[in-house]
């Protein structure tokens, strides 16, 4: 069979969407046969062993030169689902197995949300006295009700989600989710974001905001599933998997940017968050408090066994994510400019770290604290872990004694450590 010359492939290397890339590859015998091979490689249970075998390696090599290699998809494109299925079929071959953070299949959102923020600022910047009292979420509902398309699609999901089926079956969640997805896909952001991310000063407004997605049908469960179970359910559906990857890509807190958002792009984060609504991983405000803004999928980390750390890390990306929180607050306050970063240390200080790119699996959230000697003793011992003291090795090389927490530095009997 004629193998593709690098020259032919380069003409292909302009990034195309995965549906188009698949068509181009299908039209090329060498590429289509390798792609078929790769799909068998990733289909097996023991994917890594398969990927290590020569034939799979060869298939990967060829496909790396084909348009399938860095194809992407667009939110709301025609055949979006097919595009995503193709993306994941090749992506599973390119990654070393299930990662904590997966790369988003969607093209990066370059356009900023300025016009939407400007609209939000017009609303929030109105006569400040009126604005102080006004309920922004109620105004958002008004704006929607006065727009035929928004009104129709909002009423459609509300009536479906609100329809009681029987005393045991509260509603048809699948239909409700579908209607919610249609609303967020087909109604312009300036209406949907205002309903979802309006800023609130009082509890009634915050409760209206929480009710936006009709949570008793689309979100609440009799018993919350474990978040890792919910994640694996989500990752079994290409659409949910893609939107979750997109959320992780665009909302993962990064400490190199003032806004805590990758590329300081609030729109990308808000868009990814809204993209999860109507799927298994539907997130929502956890309460109607105006003090702190906490969102979460409907799951908990109870029953995580030895995977509690991974579960809590997954949940933290929703519940304690400065990028997501800043993005929502920024939209609510109608400003695209980053807010002064919120200076509060909730956990013991960690070292500031540069963020890896989208699929780094290890990001530390809090700003690290490097201070000169005097102050750290106080901060550590008083408010961090009150009952702890600096540890000193009484026998070891000259370190200050400290009571009571002593970790003896006995020369270890077990292990000789070569330095």
């Amino acid at each position: 069979s004629s193998s593709l010359t690098t020259q032919d492939f380069h003409t292909w290397r302009i990034p195309v969407d995965c549906v188009r890339a698949n068509e181009l590859c299908a039209a090329e015998p060498s590429c289509s046969s390798r792609y078929r091979t790769l799909r068998q490689c990733v289909a097996g249970r023991d994917r890594n062993t398969m990927l290590a075998n020569k034939e799979c390696q060869a298939a990967l090599e060829v496909l790396q030169e084909s348009p399938l290699y860095d194809c992407h998809c667009k939110r709301g494109m025609k055949k979006e689902l097919l595009c995503l299925q193709i993306y994941w079929s090749i992506h599973l071959g390119l990654t070393g197995g299930e990662e904590f953070y997966e790369a988003s299949p969607y093209e990066p959102v370059t356009s900023r949300l300025t016009d939407i923020f400007r609209l939000a600022s017009i609303v929030s910047g109105m006569d400040s006295t009126a604005n102080a009292k006004s309920n922004h979420c109620l105004d958002a509902a008004k704006a929607c009700n006065l727009n035929d398309n928004c009104k129709r699609l909002r009423s459609s999901y509300i009536s479906i989600c609100n329809k009681e089926i029987s005393s045991t079956e509260r509603c048809n969640r699948r239909k409700c989710h579908k209607a919610l997805r249609q609303f967020f896909d087909r109604v312009p952001h300036e209406y949907t974001y205002r309903l979802l991310f309006c800023s609130c000063r009082d509890q009634a407004c915050a409760e209206r905001r929480r009710q936006t997605i009709v949570p008793h049908c689309s979100y609440e469960d009799k018993e919350k599933p474990n978040c890792l179970e919910l994640r694996s359910l989500c990752r079994s559906d290409p659409l949910c998997r893609s939107r979750l990857a997109d959320f992780h890509t665009n909302c993962q807190a990064s400490f190199q940017s003032l806004t805590s958002c990758p590329g300081d792009n609030y729109q990308a984060c808000l868009g990814s968050y809204a993209g999860l609504i109507g799927l298994d991983m539907t997130p929502n405000y956890v309460d109607s408090s105006t003090a702190n803004l906490v969102v979460s999928p409907s799951c908990s980390c109870r029953g995580s066994g030895n995977m509690e750390e991974e579960c809590e890390k997954f949940l933290k990306d929703f519940m304690e994510n400065p990028c997501l929180r800043n993005a929502i607050q920024a939209f609510g306050n109608g400003t695209d400019r980053p807010l002064p970063p919120i200076q509060h240390i909730t956990l013991p200080p960690k070292m500031e770290t540069s963020t890896y790119n989208a699929n780094d699996s290890n990001t530390i959230y809090d700003t690290g604290v490097t201070t000169t000697s005097a102050s750290i003793q106080k901060s550590l011992t008083t408010d961090m872990i009150p009952e702890q003291k600096t540890f000193v090795d009484t026998k070891g090389s000259g370190i200050r004694p400290s009571v009571p927490g002593t970790l003896f530095a006995l020369p270890l009997l077990l292990l000789k450590v070569a330095l």
Binding site: A141, N145, S159, R208, V214
Partner: protein, 102 residues
Amino acid sequence: AKARHKPCSLKELEVTVSELGLGYKSDETVLFRYCSGTCDSAVRNYDLSLKNVRSMRKIKKEKVRARPCCRPLSYDDDVSFLDAGNRYYTVNEVSAKECGCV
């Protein structure tokens, strides 16, 4: 023409759901469209005949209408809203979409 004699047409008004007076308590604002105006230009032979036949007492104790009405020919989509008790409601056929003389 004086407001009273304008031809039948579609008008609109922004009102809160509570102001609709259906019993729902909600500050959400909705667009209320209604039909207003006269149907003088839509009178038919039927109307003239009915008026005469009735005046000749050939129709008694019956509720008949011998003039066209300016009424909605179709209605807007349902409207849904969150009420003051944080309960969602959906109401149909509140707002007119198209008016005509019938």
